[in-house]
């Protein structure tokens, strides 16, 4: 199967994709050449013009033959009225096909990787999402050449694009794209969590959320109950693995000078565990819910 070849390790994926690009490039350059080189364009044009002339003659000759053929057929058979409603004209079937093909092209964006052919090669668009929320898209413009080059891109500077392309771009384009996908989706997810914390749970934060551009180091002081008597805890989340949206290191410490009581220590440890296992904004959603429960108990 053609597709299987793209996964072999010795540069065949490059061959498959590159070969394809080459074919397309020659197609495109053939039609573009005329605009760039008027001299040879003229010669080509006249050659093409002659060919068209010949084709027209052949077509007219065949038309006459078919007419004759049809006349003899008409004479020998009874009149059959064509059922026009059953026939699909060539135009209609073409249009249907075109719509179907266009739809499939659009559908590719749902795989996370989509692209458009360019005169140079291809512009790949990588989409990101977190918890079903569609987030930013990024693009990488590839130039079809040996070696494959990145013409320009919208990948943020703190994503290790050079590292990833050094490893995979030349040998396995699919791996390159999907790895880039991993990093970008993880970054988008971490950013989403940090943004949600800042916007939705401002009341719980006792100070600004400190974050770096890669959103893999977050530091903040919070209260599990915004108006309650709970103590402020200081949390530090580190996401060492840039392809994940959950932290690898979590430290929750107590801000004050007094020692923690047993319940407070239990709370602190429980919070640490929560930050490890749940997305950041969901942790605070559960804090908010607990708060609601407490209010309910006061009322009843």
């Amino acid at each position: 199967m053609e597709l299987a070849n793209t996964l072999s390790q010795d540069g065949e994926s490059r061959g498959g994709v590159l070969a394809h690009l080459e074919r397309l490039e020659t197609q495109v350059s053939r039609s573009r050449k005329k605009m760039e080189e008027p001299q040879s364009a003229q010669a080509e044009e006249s050659a093409l013009g002659t060919r068209i002339h010949e084709l027209r003659r052949l077509r007219d000759k065949l038309r006459a033959e078919v007419k004759q053929h049809q006349a003899s057929v008409k004479a020998s058979t009874t009149n059959v009225e064509p059922d026009q409603t059953l026939e699909i004209t060539e135009q209609e079937s073409l249009k249907r096909k075109w719509e179907n093909v266009k739809a499939i092209l659009q559908a590719y964006r749902f795989t996370g990787i989509s692209g458009k052919l360019t005169s140079r090669g291809v512009c790949v668009c990588i989409s990101t999402a977190f918890e079903g929320n569609l987030l930013d898209s990024y693009f990488v413009d590839l130039v079809m050449r040996k070696p494959l080059q990145i013409h320009h891109h919208s990948i943020p500077v703190f994503i290790p694009l050079e590292e990833i392309s050094a490893k995979y771009l030349q040998t396995n384009i699919q791996h390159f794209l999907f790895t880039l996908c991993e990093y970008l989706n993880a970054y988008s997810g971490r950013k989403y969590q940090a943004d949600r914390l800042q916007s939705d749970f401002e009341a719980f934060l006792a100070g600004p959320l400190q974050r770096n551009s890669l959103c893999n180091l977050l530091s903040f002081t919070y209260k599990a109950e915004p108006e309650g008597q709970s103590f402020p805890f200081c949390a530090r989340l580190l996401y060492k693995d840039l392809t994940t949206t959950l932290p690898t290191d979590v430290t929750v410490t107590y801000q004050g000078t007094d020692a923690l009581s047993t319940t407070q220590e239990e709370q602190r440890a429980a919070h640490e565990n929560l930050f490890f296992t749940k997305p950041l904004h969901q942790v605070f959603t559960s804090f908010a819910r607990k708060g609601d429960k407490l209010d309910m108990s006061l009322v009843s």
Binding site: M1, L3, T6, L7, Q9, G16, L24, S31, K34, E45, L48, G49, I52, L55, L58, R59, L62, R63, V66, H69, Q70, S72, V73, K74, T77, T78, V80, E87, E90, L94, K97, W98, V101, K102, A103, I104, L105, Q106, A107, Y108, F110, T111, G112, I113, V122, V124, S127, A129, E131, G132, N133, L134, I173, Q174, L177, F178, C181, E182, N185, T244
Partner: protein, 288 residues
């Protein structure tokens, strides 16, 4: 010029159709209508309709090559796609210039030997400042279901409504499966008597034995797992099958620690070199 090329191609197509019409033997009914149809087609060349299909045909060709290219680039072939849109904007929302639309998408295709069918709902809410798109439902059907590792992964993807993670992990999973298949096949070809694949090349186990020493067998189990975050990782284990007498002679407990040593070796030499060294060790030991 472009239009000349298109015209030339259209003429060629017409000529082919006309040739076919000439060759067909006269027969009642169907064939006359077919001939008449191609006749109609030929006269369409001089009407507006012909211009439209000329453009469509060339554009269609270009789009089809784009799809073929995307399929090669991503390793994912989409065969069918349909979408239904439902406008959920209430009059209240329209007054505040908020638009709410629910899209139902259906997508099917394959990634190598795995075919998938997806249905998902996308809720788009547009207000003055921004557009939010959220996947509110996702259902995935996959075949073949012999890869048991995938069913758990599929339910997790559905739960999280993480469409992109699904495709990403699917790609890496397939890549690992292909690599495992290639590696096993290579060893089987290189050491046909020593290597034994119980379920053929797609099996997850490779047995190493020496025909001159029956009773001894090393089985390498190579599983491909997808973790909570959708990361695809290979997991290799070594099982030893050794006759009781040999076990009694094994003072240093080499066989007991074999699985652990295997893991260490994997870390140092990598998968292929480790497997090859195991095969060679069983081979040479027996021939001594």
């Amino acid at each position: 010029m472009d239009s000349q090329l298109v015209e030339a191609r259209a003429l060629e197509a017409e000529i082919t159709a006309l040739r076919r019409a000439c060759v067909e033997p006269p027969a009642p009914g169907e064939d006359t209508s077919r001939v008449r149809k191609s006749f109609r087609e030929t006269y369409q060349a001089d009407s507006e309709g012909w211009e439209l299909s000329k453009d469509l045909r060339s554009h269609l060709g270009h789009l089809e090559s784009e799809i073929q290219f995307l399929s090669t680039l991503t390793g994912i072939s989409i065969r069918h796609y349909s979408k239904k849109t439902e406008d959920l904007t209430s009059t209240e929302m329209t007054e505040k210039s908020i638009k709410k639309v629910l899209q139902r998408h259906r997508l099917s295709g394959n990634c190598h030997m795995i075919t998938f069918q997806l249905e998902f709902q996308l809720l788009e809410i547009q207000n003055e400042e921004s557009l939010s798109s959220v996947i509110t439902d996702l259902s995935i059907i996959m075949e073949p279901t012999e890869y048991s590792e995938l069913s758990e992964f599929v339910s997790r993807a559905e739960e999280r409504r993480d469409l992109f993670m699904f495709f990403r992990s699917l790609h890496f999973f397939v890549e690992w499966c292909e690599y495992r298949k290639r590696t096993f096949k290579r060893f089987k070809e290189k050491y046909p008597e020593a290597v034994h694949l119980s379920e053929g090349a797609s099996s997850s186990c490779m047995g190493i034995r020496n025909p001159s020493r029956p009773g001894f067998e090393l089985v390498i189990v190579w599983r491909i797992q997808i973790d909570e975050e959708g990361k695809v990782l290979p997991k290799l284990d070594l099982l030893t099958k050794v006759p009781l007498q040999a076990l009694e002679l094994d003072k240093n407990g080499v066989i007991e620690t074999a699985p652990l040593s295997f893991r260490t070796l994997l870390g140092v030499l990598g998968i292929e070199a480790t497997l090859e060294s195991l095969i060679k060790s069983l081979h040479t030991e027996a021939s001594n």
